[in-house]
Symmetry: C2
Subunit: 283 residues, 2 copies
């Protein structure tokens, strides 16, 4: 695996590969890799793309009271994991390399970010858009892979690519789960043993609602039942439960198959925020 | 000259040219071409770039009370002019092709746009950034050419390219002037004969200040003298006169050579806004 820390070096390397006809697959990450990330690498490798991962804990997407400094950075382990799935290239820039000065340009997408993670993490998606746009311009991927777990992020990135005509195909890869159903996340390592047990309640509530939607299409009722159901797991706080149209993230009133409804849940176990989502009609 | 109206067609054409090793020069315009635009095309041709112009009157960069509908669109004449300077490719999209729906993403750059054109034309630079980013992604130029006349636009585009690592080199080409010094502009055609005579006062004030700066470095004094000097030309309104640092557009107090000061003037002849600028120490 080739490892580059400088923008100019990774650009040059990829430029040469593109000239000889290689197509580039890109998996942007913040490191602390788990099976979810590796499934993105595998999806890229399966398409025979020259597979480039980035590891960059992007300060622009953390709020002032968030865990930027304590976000896990097990870089040696991450490199071994990337090698184990035959990742071709790792781009591993420093903050100074990515932001030699604070960016003057700001990207926003109010229609997609006023609720959910955008509401609870002010400035988060603005930081995501900035770094993703920048990474796309550096890596110039033909295909970029994102995990469905960060559902709102997927919608924001897809819309940004469409609005700005980025020459990148976005592939969303289904969430990888632990044996009990908990969505894999770099933040799961913050959970105490007791919290880890409760955590599965999010997944179970999603599955419960997916069953319920066969008989009950009213979104208000579905959400009310979900709140009642999730209560017993003893989360510290439920940040939100909602059912939205998958592409636009607009709230639905009726959860019919034609609307492609997705349930979004974010809840806290202690101080750890856990996100998950599920298409209510997928196979 | 190849003319494309669809994004996919121009992308495919350029993609093939890049594969065989051609480098792309890009001149984005809103049409109503004049010698200023043609100088950009010539600059690209002189570098032996496959030279692509775009003509797109971008609704996103016009305010609600501005001249989007009456902006001149002499497309047959523009095509002949482009052919006359051996432009290789023209991208001529419709509004529907560029914005099938209103873009959800918004780009801003408050540090660079709160004053001058950004203050007088709310939303203007947001629209410029949106369309320039989109056109860069469509045309994927190696070098893009902009005219110095729109000085603030040049600064905004350069900063956007830097912040987002667009793989594009920006070249700023000096303003082309009429015989009397008036900066060429698509909007000059709106001027009555009488207004046309007054219009040269902007250029003359810039030249006057460039002379004065040899003896007087205090920016406040220079601007005061410029207001007194320009008064005699009888402009309807002076929108602003200022002296700024060329790259950051920050106001200067002392106009010394090391600060690379530029004087910006925008004034109205009747209802026509005329912009011009000059480096106070250039050769």
């Amino acid at each position: 695996m080739e490892i580059f820390t400088h923008i100019s070096d990774v650009k040059n390397y990829i430029h040469v590969k593109k000239i000889i006809g290689r197509e580039i697959g890109f998996v942007p990450t913040m490191g602390a890799l788990h099976e979810g990330h590796l499934s993105l690498i595998r999806a890229s490798k399966n398409k025979e793309l020259l597979t480039t991962a980035s590891i960059f804990v992007n300060p622009a997407q953390f709020g002032p009271n968030e865990d930027f400094n304590k976000y896990p950075r097990p870089i040696e382990e991450d490199i071994e994991l990337l090698k184990s799935v035959n990742c071709d290239v790792l781009f591993l820039p420093s903050v100074e390399e990515m932001y030699p000065e604070k960016a003057a340009v700001q990207m926003t997408m109010p229609l997609y970010t006023q609720k959910y993670e955008g509401e609870h993490r002010k400035g988060h998606f603005e930081g995501v858009m900035l770094v993703v746009a920048k990474l796309f311009n550096i890596v110039s991927p033909d295909v970029a892979f994102f995990g469905q777990k960060d559902f709102q992020q997927c919608a924001v990135v897809k819309q940004m690519v469409k609005d700005l005509s980025f020459p990148v195909k976005i592939e969303i890869i289904p969430t990888v789960r632990e044996a009990d159903g908990l969505a894999m996340s770099s933040r799961n390592r913050y959970l105490s043993a007791e919290e880890r047990k409760k955590a599965v309640g999010i997944y179970q509530t999603l599955v419960y609602t997916k069953g319920l939607v066969q008989h009950e299409k009213n979104v208000e009722n579905l959400i009310r039942h979900a709140y009642i159901y999730i209560e017993k797991f003893g989360f510290t706080q439920i940040d939100y439960i909602d059912i939205v149209q998958a592409d636009t993230l607009q709230t639905l009133h009726i959860a019919e198959k034609e609307n492609n409804p997705v349930m979004l849940i974010t809840a806290r176990c202690g101080t750890t925020r856990l996100l998950d989502n599920m298409y209510l009609y997928e196979n």
